[in-house]
């Protein structure tokens, strides 16, 4: 496509082209070959090392990531090409003093205006993804309070005062979340700043002393996600593990109602995970390649 559009502009009325032009033409053809599939076939856009995740917002973040990576590769690739091309094409061949060009106003205007437009587009898509991510529902069907401390986590479930899970470092405490329902998470810290980060959610937030943050997560895949603190919090920062277990909403609520304390609740949830996990395994395998290394 690109090649055909460009051809007549570069070489009006010429069938055969000479060395320099044919090189340019080959470059354009190469660029078209690389870019066209990227731009046209959005369903086969490479992951660029990231994954779509398991929440409704993580999918959008992933798409935004892909868009940014494509934009970044095009801009970066073009700039890299220009740097390397200029460096090789204009290597010194004689001691003659070249033309002393210092200002070409229209080029300078072009490379100020075009990045401004690109920035506008990137900002627009950022806002489109960000707004639902930071939005909070008024009456969440599920709630969880997360408290971080050196070097562990406490998970409690409002409305179920007996159900609390506490664990530190390699005890790897379990946080249970429903699938298919919005779960409102409140997050704070008892001592220093910690980082609540679950890779499969494509999301992180600080747990801070004196600040209670609230964010909503809507998980859509049953699974178990090994996680850990991301913000330096002292000696055992490397070992401040926790695990997120997501189970169908019905099992989640029945486990909450039937359990007498934290450990029985976690056992109930992990049982529900095994049962529904085997049913959903096929779906998980095909849609969530990134989960393959999690038990």
């Amino acid at each position: 496509m690109l090649e055909r559009v460009n051809d007549p502009v570069d070489n009006p009325g010429s069938g055969l082209v000479r060395t320099r032009t044919s090189r340019t033409r080959r470059n354009l053809g190469l660029a078209a070959l690389v870019l066209t599939p990227l731009l046209l076939s959005s369903c086969t856009v490479p992951s660029f090392g990231a994954a779509s995740g398991v929440t409704d917002t993580s999918h959008k973040t992933y798409k935004l990531w892909q868009g940014f990576m494509i934009t970044g590769l095009i801009i970066g690739g073009l700039t890299l090409f220009l740097i390397v091309f200029a460096a090789l094409r204009y290597r010194r061949k004689s001691d003659a003093i070249p033309r002393q060009t210092q200002y070409v106003t229209w080029i300078e205007i072009v490379y100020t205006v075009i990045p401004t437009i690109i920035v506008g587009v990137l900002f627009y898509f950022t806002i489109v993804v960000e707004n639902p991510e930071v939005a909070r529902v008024a009456h969440p069907p599920a709630k969880i309070n997360v408290v971080a401390f050196q070097w562990g986590w406490r998970f409690s479930y409002p409305g179920y005062p007996n159900i609390t899970t506490v664990g530190q470092t390699t005890q790897n405490p379990v946080m249970v979340m429903p699938v298919g329902e919005t779960d409102a998470v409140t997050l704070t810290s008892l001592d220093v700043v910690h980082g609540f980060y679950v890779k499969e959610f494509n999301y992180s937030e600080y747990a801070q002393p004196g600040v209670t943050n609230r964010f909503d997560l809507h998980v859509d895949t049953v699974g178990s996600y090994q996680s850990q603190c991301t913000q330096l919090c002292g000696l055992y920062h490397s070992l401040m593990y926790f695990k997120v277990v997501t189970i169908p909403a019905a099992s989640y609520h029945s486990c909450l109602s039937s359990s007498s304390d934290g450990p029985t609740f976690v056992a109930c949830a992990e049982k529900a995970l095994t049962t529904s996990g085997s049913e959903m395994n096929a779906t998980v395998r095909t849609t969530q390649g990134a989960l393959s290394h999690h038990g």
Binding site: G49, T61, L64, F68, M69, G72, G76, T79, L80, L82, I83, A86, Y90, R91, R92, K93, D95, I97, P98, R99, Q100, T101, Q102, Y103, V104, T105, I107, E108, Y111, T112, P115, V119, L122, F123, T126, I127, E130, E133, V134, G195, Y197, K199, N202, Y203, S204, E205, Y206, Q208, G210, V211, N213, Q226, Q228, T230, L232, C233, L235, H237, S238, L239
Partner: protein, 569 residues
């Protein structure tokens, strides 16, 4: 062309009377107020700091080659990366640029005999040296050095969580080096505003000097805020205040705001001098004027202005900042940065590029910084920052940027070394060093991006649960050791060169700016005489009186209708 003798140089060549002006040797080093001596002190001290900080990095990378690294303990690891970051940021990158090369070059580039306040300049250096020693002394005290990261987030840095004297030494070191930076900032701004030679108007100043002016202003804006924050931190630790203490009505997040209000301008305080060095080097070795000189000045000023309004992009995941505002401001910085890139490319375009080591390093800077810049735009988007915050993606991003600065700094050293010493660094070793540094940097940062996307958090001494991260970590470590080896090559080159004869002459690169008009090394008050300053390139004008004039598209006759192509040649 180069064999044209400068009369003032020839007349004074064999006098050598500079040596008789003051004490020599160690006393000269201790008592001098000459900006060149102080600049060299700064440069040498900061390169020693680079080697020390680099050694910490080598140990860190050794620890991470296995999932359960046993090279150091968890506690030692926290000290190591804290001191690695602190030494590199506070004791190497800034002081090397604005205390070292800028101190040496700015007065000469504007035709001044010295800095505006020579004794304040000496005080700056001694505060810096004292601060550096203070910080490193942390390793000798009970409890070890500071271990809360180079950002020292409250309350991890309070008396309860960091009880040792190492933390106090860290705070003291930052106060000392902070004042050193402020005084240097005062000196740079005053020198550039008041000591320019006749004819050296603002828009004839070399870009390096322009960048140092803007850097100086940024220092004056940012560093006092950090100093205030540190005083409050110290008061919390020792005088019973509760400014950052959430349990007694204090606000821990205040530290992050204060720290990054300094910290983001600091990124540009570090970067602008290196942008300036590269901007000097590329046109000289392309035998062309800087493309878009005024646009470059505008871009630098814009970057500096915007950098004061983006600090909270380091705090997107705190849930306490206005995301769209800081995101948009951060995106805006990419526009002037892009202008710089295209001006650098435009300066090479149509030139006669000579691949000296300095030019190779400058191109290596462009490529490495490009990667850091692009990933910076990704991180400016809050959803993508939520996704990658505090992972190795961020580590890789800012190491792309700072490795670009190291490469750019090497370009500056190879470019100005003949001026400072009269000797050429060995080009063959220089080019070998370049490839180790450039390829090593790339190999070092690239696995980091992937590790971050796989979820590896930063500041991890061990990654027991994720042995699958090992291969990428090993690759990254090999890259880091290549960087380490390139530094060894540099030291060898330096020692070898210092025994070689002084063959450089005043203007070995056929350069543009005033420092290349005087002798190498320059005499006590820098110049025996000055050329006429009628453009941004007084030295070039002097050596090439009959060179083709600067062209501008509006005035270039070859672009006018009916003009024959190449008529101006």
């Amino acid at each position: 062309m180069v064999d044209v003798l400068e009369p003032q140089t020839a007349a004074h060549d064999d006098h050598g009377h500079d040596e008789h002006h003051g004490p020599s040797g160690i006393m000269n080093w201790l008592t001098s107020t000459d900006h060149k001596v102080i600049g060299l002190n700064y440069t040498v001290t900061s390169i020693i700091m680079l080697v020390i900080g680099g050694a910490f990095a080598m140990i860190i990378r050794a620890q991470l080659t296995t999932p359960n690294g046993t090279v150091v303990t968890l506690a030692q690891y926290n000290e190591l990366f804290t001191m690695h970051g602190s030494v590199m940021i506070y004791l190497f990158a800034g002081p090397f640029a604005f205390g070292g090369l800028a101190n040496y070059m700015v007065p000469i580039q504007i035709g001044a005999p010295d800095m505006a306040f020579p004794r304040l300049n000496a005080l700056s250096y001694w505060l810096y040296l004292t601060g550096s020693i203070t910080m490193l002394l942390g390793f000798t005290v009970a409890g070890g050095a500071a271990d809360f990261g180079w950002v020292g987030y409250a309350p991890l840095s309070d008396a309860l969580n960091a009880p040792g004297a190492g933390a106090d030494l860290w705070i003291g070191a930052l106060l000392l080096t902070g004042f050193s930076a402020i005084f240097t900032g005062v000196n740079l701004v005053a020198t550039i505003f008041y000591l320019r030679a006749p004819g050296m108007t603002m828009f004839r100043m070399p870009i390096f000097t322009w960048n140092m002016l803007v850097t100086g202003i940024l220092i004056l804006l940012a560093f006092p805020v950090l100093t205030a924050g540190l005083v409050m931190l110290y008061a919390d630790r020792h005088f019973g205040t509760h400014i950052y203490d959430a349990h007694h009505g204090g606000v821990p997040i205040l530290w992050q705001n204060i720290f990054w209000f300094w910290g983001h301008p600091e990124v540009y305080i570090l970067a602008l001098p290196f942008f300036g060095m590269v901007t000097e080097i590329i046109p000289v070795f392309s035998r062309k004027p800087l493309f878009g000189y005024k646009g470059m000045v505008f871009a630098t000023i814009t970057i500096a202005a915007l950098s004061t309004g983006v600090w909270a992009h380091h705090m997107f995941t705190t849930g306490t900042v206005l995301l769209p505002f800081f995101s948009f401001m951060t995106y805006l910085i990419s526009i002037p940065t892009g202008i710089k890139f295209f001006n650098w490319i435009g300066s090479m375009w149509g030139g006669q590029i000579k691949f000296t080591s300095a030019m190779l390093f400058a191109i290596g800077f462009l490529i490495t910084f490009l990667i850091g810049g692009i990933t910076g735009i990704i991180l400016a988007s809050p959803p993508l920052d939520f996704f990658t915050h505090d992972t190795y993606f961020v580590v890789a991003h800012f190491h792309s940027v700072v490795m670009a600065l190291v490469i750019g700094g090497m370009a500056g050293i190879y470019y100005w070394f003949p001026k400072i010493t009269g000797r050429f660094l060995n080009e063959r070793i220089g080019k070998t060093q370049f490839w180790f540094l450039f390829l090593g940097s790339t190999l070092f940062v690239m696995p980091g991006y992937l590790l971050g996307l796989k979820g590896m958090p930063r500041r991890m001494a061990i990654y027991t649960l994720h042995p699958e991260w090992q291969h990428l970590n090993v690759a990254s470590s090999i890259g880091a050791w290549m960087i380490g080896f390139s530094t060894v090559l540099f030291v060898i080159n330096f020692l070898k060169t210092m025994r070689s004869p002084k063959t450089a002459g005043p203007n070995p690169w056929d350069a543009h700016t005033l420092e290349w008009f005087t002798t190498s090394p320059p005499p006590h008050h820098n110049f025996y005489a000055l050329p006429n300053i009628r453009s941004e390139r007084p030295t070039w004008d002097y050596y090439h009186p009959d060179a083709p004039a600067l062209t501008h598209d509006d005035h270039d006759p070859s672009h006018m209708p009916g003009a024959a192509k190449g008529a101006t040649k």
